[in-house]
Symmetry: C2
Subunit: 244 residues, 2 copies
């Protein structure tokens, strides 16, 4: 087991050298606890730090002028947080903990040093940011062109797949850890309508809900009706330089 959460993610892309592992471990030397509901970085405030999420579930969101919220992304252990913030004078998004979390803060100069000293890791970070980009464009297509039911279905599938990346024991049944309002803010719907869509999905036999636990009872149909693609599969990284 690696000392670094982030190294585990990168290590699944390609084997890492000892030097590379050591360099990544240095990003996670310090830890900070973030309680459920606490805000790690606030939109429009200066942000000089980056983080590796070590434990727990977080989200990033923006608030619009009329007070409505758009959740941009859910964040899982091994994710790097705050990249969009460090290139601007003010953070473009808020980072907020959905459960009690542990994060490892590091300075942006540490990222710069890492890119210089370990260019192969730099390529791998670029790859991770491209995977994230594709996940965002999938969500863009979902918001722009799919029905409310499909959006909710796709969100359930994505959360399950990403939870499973951390905890292999997760299968069809899991606890989502989101309120219906949060699902709505991620899918561009109201919480009321999310509730109706969940009920419809349940009536159609695609999911089941018992005491906070959610079961995907027909993943094939759900994935088809939701236009869902798991973007952590089917990668081709053969062009990465080999480990030294």
């Amino acid at each position: 087991m690696s000392a670094s959460c982030f190294a585990e993610i990168l290590g699944e892309l390609a084997p890492l050298s000892d030097d590379e592992c050591a360099a990544l471990a240095r990003l996670e030397e310090r830890t900070r606890h973030v309680r459920r509901g606490a805000i790690l970085q606030r939109e429009n405030e200066p942000a000089n730090e980056l983080f590796i999420l070590n434990k727990g579930l977080m989200m990033s969101y923006v608030l619009l002028d009329d007070g409505s919220r758009q959740i941009l992304r859910f964040l899982f252990p091994g994710d790097m947080l705050g990249m969009p913030g460090i290139i601007y004078r003010e953070a473009p998004e808020t980072l907020c903990a959905l459960s009690d979390c542990v994060v490892c803060p590091f300075d942006r100069s540490a990222l710069s040093d890492l890119m210089t000293a370990q260019p192969r890791l730099g390529s791998m970070i670029l790859i991770v940011s491209q995977i994230e980009r594709v996940a965002l464009t999938d969500r863009l297509a979902m918001l722009g062109r799919t029905s409310a039911k499909a959006r909710v279905g796709a969100l359930l599938l994505e959360m399950r797949d990403r939870l499973r990346a951390t905890d292999k024991s997760i299968a069809a049944t899991f606890s989502l850890g989101l309120t219906q309002e949060e699902i709505g803010d991620a899918t561009g719907l109201t919480s009321v309508h999310v509730n109706r869509m969940l009920r419809q999905l349940e009536e159609e036999g695609l999911i089941r809900r018992d005491s906070g636990k959610l079961t995907l009872t027909d993943e094939i149909t759900l994935a088809r009706t939701a236009n869902y693609v798991n973007r952590y599969e089917n990668l081709d990284l053969s062009w990465l330089p080999p480990r030294k």
Copy 2:
């Protein structure tokens, strides 16, 4: 004037060394012409090449099962195209020319070599991909949480700002180069509704349309009603390593 379109973009972030310029110029040694309407890369087909867009306007989009299209991004000279494609066995999006274009193709191993030989350029490429990421999350919030009128307004402002990045002579009046159907596919609306929103914006005195030319007659109000932020401004790149 730089020999490389891409170097011009990166050069606006921070001054480049001669070595760096030379390395970037090598990405643009070859050129290929793409006619209006032609497809450079098709969704779900293998894609081994990357491109720098040299001249013209392109777009990337995905098609859903029901045949509807979501335009993900408009592409301008100096943009790197195809990054999301090279990490997957099959391209996740289609690249299509909206006008006659010139692109410079290069192999993905050239990117890998560049990242290794010029880590500072690697950091700058990562920065550009983060700017793009923030632009995508802005569009995500736009699709999820703003009205049809605001979406159309934001699109007009973004196109104007990005066209101006290439052609400084562009001010309030410009020609958009998109059909109303394309505007709709980018904003998650139907072409019919886009038409109505354009008329409303015109009736409210925010824009004017004459023979294919579009004029932003009240940018301040338009930007406010559209929740628009120009993401190519207010960058803070002081933490980049200095030029050697």
